[in-house]
C-alpha cells in the first residue's frame, strides 16, 4: 500500500477515528488504527470492541492495500509535522514508512488482518435526524446516565423509535430525563439501549448547523453516519426500567421559575451544600422561592428567587448537583416545576417545551 495525503486531512482523520481507541487495552491491536487505501481515498478505522469509528480521507492512492499503525504515536507525529503532503507506505514486515518533507519515520505496525472487522449493521430500523436535534437531545439526557458499572443498563441511554418519532431516556435511579426528538424520516420501531459513551462521541462528530445524521439499528448494534464518518456501537442488553411509570401524571403545585437566576442561586448554595451530601432545602412561600444549605463545618447559605406559584407552599430537599445539571442544559428563560408532596418526584420542564421532561426525586427531609 502506498498513498499521499494532505497532513491536515490525515491528522483530522486519525484524531476522529482515534477516539474509539481504548487507552488501556490488553490487546495490542486495539491500540492501532487500520488504514485502508482504495481508489482515491483512505479509510481510517479504530475500535475498542464496544464502539468503532471509521472515517474517510481524500488521498492519492498509488497502490491500494492496508496497514495498521499505533494510534498514539502516529497522532503525535502528525500533530507536530508541518502542513504539507505526507506519504504513507508499508513493507511486508508491517513496518510503516511515514515521510513528510525532510522527516522520515519507520513505525512498527501489526498485520492488518489481525484488526477486528467492524460489524456490519444489518438495517432493521432506521431514522434520519437533523444535526441540531440530535445534539440537543444528547446534551439534555447524557448527563443523567449512571456511572455505576454494576448497573450496566443505566449506563446507557434508551433510544426509542416509535410512530415516526425518536425518544431518548436516561436515568441513574435518582432522576430521569426524557427528550422527544423530531425526525426527518423513520422506518420501523425499536427500543435500544445505547452506551452513554457512544452518544457522547456522536455529539462530538456531529457538526453544528444544517445536515442530518443517519441512524441504523440492528438487534445488537447501532450505527450512526455523519457525513463520511461512521460510528458503530454495541447495544447494552437487558430491560430498561419502565420509565413511563415514574413520570408523575398529576401535580398539586406548579411553579414558574427564571432559569438563570435559579441556576446561579443553586450554584452558590452548592458551595456550602457540597460539604453536606449536596443537600439543599428549597422552600416556596407565596411568590418567593428560597434555597438554603447548611453544613456544620462551613456555615449557611440563603438565596431567594421570585417565582410564580400555583397551589400551596412547600418545602423540599434536593441534591443541588442534580438541580444544577438540568438547569445547565435548559436554554429557555423560565422553567416550569410541578410538585406534589415533599417526598414525591418533581417534574421540571423548559417553559413551553413539552418535549423535554426531567423527573427528580427529592432527598428525605428529616
Amino acid at each position: 500500500m502506498k498513498v499521499i495525503c494532505a497532513r491536515k486531512d490525515l491528522y483530522e482523520g486519525v484524531q476522529t477515528a482515534g477516539r474509539a481507541v481504548s487507552p488501556r487495552t490488553s490487546l495490542p491491536i486495539l491500540g492501532h488504527l487500520l488504514i485502508t487505501a482504495e481508489e482515491d481515498k483512505i479509510r481510517i478505522a479504530a475500535t475498542d470492541l464496544e464502539i468503532g469509528m471509521e472515517c474517510i480521507v481524500d488521498a492519492k492512492v498509488e497502490e491500494p492495500g492496508n496497514m495498521t499503525v499505533p494510534a498514539r504515536t502516529v497522532t503525535e507525529i502528525l500533530a507536530a509535522l508541518p502542513d504539507t503532503d505526507v506519504a504513507l507506505s508499508v513493507d511486508d514486515t508491517n513496518t510503516v514508512s511515514l515521510k513528510c518533507g525532510t522527516s522520515d519515520y519507520s513505525i512498527l505496525g501489526l498485520p492488518a488482518d489481525e484488526f477486528p472487522m467492524l460489524p456490519e449493521v444489518r438495517e432493521e430500523v432506521s431514522v434520519v435526524v437533523e444535526h441540531d436535534a440530535i445534539r440537543e437531545a444528547i446534551k439534555r439526557t447524557a448527563f443523567a446516565i449512571s456511572q455505576d458499572e454494576s448497573r450496566a443498563i443505566l449506563t446507557g441511554i434508551l433510544t426509542q423509535v416509535i410512530d415516526g418519532g425518536l425518544k431518548l431516556v436516561s436515568t441513574d435511579g435518582h432522576r430521569l430525563c426524557l427528550q422527544e426528538c423530531a425526525v426527518v424520516e423513520s422506518h420501523g420501531a425499536v427500543n435500544a439501549i445505547v452506551p452513554g459513551r457512544a452518544l457522547n462521541e456522536l455529539s462530538r462528530i456531529v457538526p453544528e448547523g444544517q445536515g442530518t445524521v443517519e441512524v441504523k439499528i440492528a438487534p445488537s448494534q447501532i450505527m450512526f453516519r455523519v457525513g463520511e464518518t461512521i460510528l458503530i456501537s454495541r447495544l447494552i442488553e437487558g430491560q430498561f426500567p419502565n420509565y413511563d411509570k415514574v413520570i408523575p401524571k398529576e401535580h398539586t403545585k406548579k411553579l414558574t421559575v427564571p432559569t438563570e437566576q435559579l441556576l446561579q442561586s443553586v450554584k452558590r448554595a452548592e458551595i456550602v451544600a457540597r460539604e453536606n451530601s449536596h443537600r439543599t432545602i428549597v422552600s416556596v412561600q407565596d411568590g418567593t422561592l428560597t434555597v438554603t444549605a447548611e453544613s456544620g463545618n462551613v456555615g449557611r447559605a440563603h438565596e431567594e428567587v421570585e417565582v410564580i406559584k400555583e397551589g400551596e407552599d412547600i418545602r423540599m430537599a434536593f441534591n443541588a448537583r442534580y438541580l444544577m445539571d438540568v438547569l445547565n442544559v435548559i436554554d429557555t428563560e423560565a422553567i416550569e416545576v410541578e410538585l406534589s408532596g415533599e417526598v414525591s418526584p418533581a417534574v421540571i420542564r423548559p417553559q413551553g417545551q413539552e418535549e423535554y421532561t426531567y423527573v427528580l426525586m427529592p432527598m428525605q427531609v428529616e
Binding site: T171, G173, S277, R279, V359, M361, Q364, E366
Partner: protein, 409 residues
C-alpha cells in the same frame, strides 16, 4: 487544655476471667480462660493471671492454650454479666470527674485536672477507686496517672495486676529514653517495624528524630509520632456526651474452617452485611463506601473498598457490593480465614430517594427492624440465612465503647 493536665487510666485486670472467679469462688486461684469451647477454632478472650503464668494470653487459640496449660478451666463468656460489671466500674469512676472516656469494656480515661483538689489529689482518687472497686465488686485494677493519655496508659501498663503508678512530668525524659517504641500506646507492630527500619527503636530516639523526616514517612501521623516520642499528647479525654459521630460501621467473623467455598463465603458476607445494615439504620446513617476485609490462613490481612454514587443502609445492597469486591478484587485462590464488612463515608438524614426503589422496600425494612428490635437480631431473616441462629438481645462487649457510653445515661 494542653498544659498541666492530670489524666488517669483505669484498666481492669484480666477483666472477664476475674469476674468469673468472683462469681464462682471455686475458680479462685486456678488458671481460668474465657473463650470458646475446646475443639473449636475459638480464641481466648481473657486469661486469669494464674493462666498467664503458663503463657496463655488473649487471642491465643483455645487449643494452644490447653496444650500449654492442661488444667486450664475454660469458661464460656457471659457478655451480659461483663457489661453489667463494666457499667458499675465506670459509675464508680464517674464519681470523681465528669470527663470520663470509656475506652473499651474494661478501660476508661479520666481527666481529673480540675476535680482532683476536691478529693485530695489524683493519687488519693486512684487509691479510692481501687479500694471501692475491690470492696464493692471484688475486682482489681491497674491505674496509671500521667500528664496526658499516652503517659497514663504507659503508667497503667507498668505494674500489673493491681498496680498504681504515676508518671510525673519531670520523669518523662528519663523514662522514655530506653523505652521500646511499641510500648507507646498507638504504635502497633507495623508502625514499630517501619520505625525500626528507619533505625528508631526507642521512644527517646523517636523524640529526637526530626519532625520532617517522620512526616515524610508517615504523613500527618508523623507529627503525632514525634510528639509521642517526647511524651507529648494533647488528645483530650472525650466524654460520651461530646463524642464525635461514628465514622464507620463494620462486623467481621472468623470462619469455623478456612474456606474457598463461594457459598460459605457469600453466606457469611450476607449475614455480616445484614448486621451492618441494621446498625446503620439503628443510628440513622447510610454510607457510600463498602470495604471488605479478608484474612488468609497465614494471617495476611487486607481490605478492598468500593465507593458508590449513593448512600445505602440496606443489608442486601451492602452484601451485593461486598460480594462483587470479593469476586472481582479478591477471588478465592487462597483459603480465607476471616471476612469482614464495613460501611464508611457515612451521612445522616440525607437519604436521596430513588425513582424505582419502591416505598414498599423501605416499609418492609422498617417492619423487619421493628420485629428484630423487639425479639432479637435475626429473629426474622432471609431464608438463605436460616442456619444463622437468632442472637437474642444480649449486649455486645465489642459493640464499641460509644454504645456503652450512651447506656450509662
Amino acid at each position: 487544655m494542653k498544659k498541666d493536665r492530670t489524666i488517669l487510666l483505669v484498666d481492669m485486670n484480666s477483666f472477664f476471667a476475674s469476674i468469673e472467679q468472683q462469681c464462682d469462688p471455686r475458680l479462685k486461684g486456678k488458671p481460668v480462660a474465657v473463650g470458646g469451647p475446646a475443639g473449636s477454632r475459638a480464641v481466648v478472650s481473657t486469661a486469669s493471671y494464674e493462666a498467664r503464668q503458663f503463657g496463655v494470653h488473649s487471642a491465643m487459640p483455645v487449643m494452644e492454650a490447653l496444650t500449654r496449660c492442661p488444667e486450664l478451666v475454660l469458661v464460656h463468656g457471659d457478655l451480659r454479666k461483663y457489661v453489667d460489671i463494666s457499667r458499675r466500674v465506670f459509675r464508680i469512676c464517674g464519681d470523681y470527674t465528669d470527663l470520663l472516656e470509656i475506652y473499651s469494656v474494661d478501660e476508661c480515661f479520666m481527666d481529673v485536672t480540675h476535680t482532683q483538689t476536691l478529693f485530695g489529689g489524683s493519687w488519693n482518687i486512684a487509691l479510692d477507686i481501687k479500694r471501692r472497686i475491690f470492696s464493692e465488686l471484688g475486682l482489681t485494677c491497674s491505674i496509671g496517672i500521667g500528664p496526658n493519655k499516652v503517659l497514663a496508659k504507659l503508667a497503667a501498663g507498668m505494674r500489673k495486676p493491681d498496680g498504681l503508678v504515676e508518671i510525673r512530668p519531670e520523669e518523662v525524659r528519663d523514662l522514655l529514653e530506653n523505652l521500646p517504641v511499641e510500648k507507646l500506646h498507638g504504635i502497633g507492630d507495623k508502625v514499630a517495624a517501619r520505625l525500626r527500619n528507619m533505625g528508631i527503636s526507642t521512644a527517646g530516639a523517636l523524640g529526637r528524630t526530626p519532625r520532617d523526616r517522620l512526616k515524610r514517612h508517615f504523613g500527618v501521623y508523623g507529627e503525632v509520632l514525634h510528639a509521642m516520642g517526647n511524651g507529648d499528647c494533647d488528645t483530650p479525654v472525650v466524654p460520651y456526651y461530646d463524642q464525635q459521630d461514628i465514622k464507620s460501621v463494620g462486623h467481621s467473623h472468623t470462619l469455623a474452617q478456612n474456606t474457598r467455598d463461594w457459598g460459605m463465603l457469600s453466606h457469611h458476607l450476607l449475614r455480616l452485611s445484614e448486621m451492618v445494615g441494621r446498625r446503620l439504620r439503628e443510628q440513622g446513617f447510610a454510607g457510600r463506601t463498602v470495604s471488605l476485609t479478608v484474612r488468609y490462613a497465614d494471617m495476611h490481612t487486607f481490605s478492598r473498598r468500593q465507593s458508590l454514587n449513593e448512600h445505602i443502609d440496606d443489608g442486601y445492597a451492602i452484601y451485593q457490593v461486598a460480594l462483587s469486591i470479593l469476586r472481582e478484587q479478591v477471588g478465592n485462590k487462597h483459603a480465607i480465614r476471616l471476612v469482614g464488612v464495613c460501611v464508611s463515608n457515612l451521612a445522616k438524614g440525607f437519604r436521596q430517594l430513588g425513582l424505582f426503589s419502591d416505598v414498599k422496600d423501605r416499609t418492609l425494612l422498617n417492619t423487619l427492624d421493628a420485629i428484630n428490635n423487639r425479639y432479637g437480631e435475626f429473629t426474622i431473616r432471609r431464608a438463605s440465612l436460616l442456619e444463622t441462629k437468632p442472637r437474642g438481645k444480649a449486649p455486645s462487649c465489642f459493640a464499641g465503647a460509644r454504645t456503652q457510653q450512651a447506656s450509662l445515661d
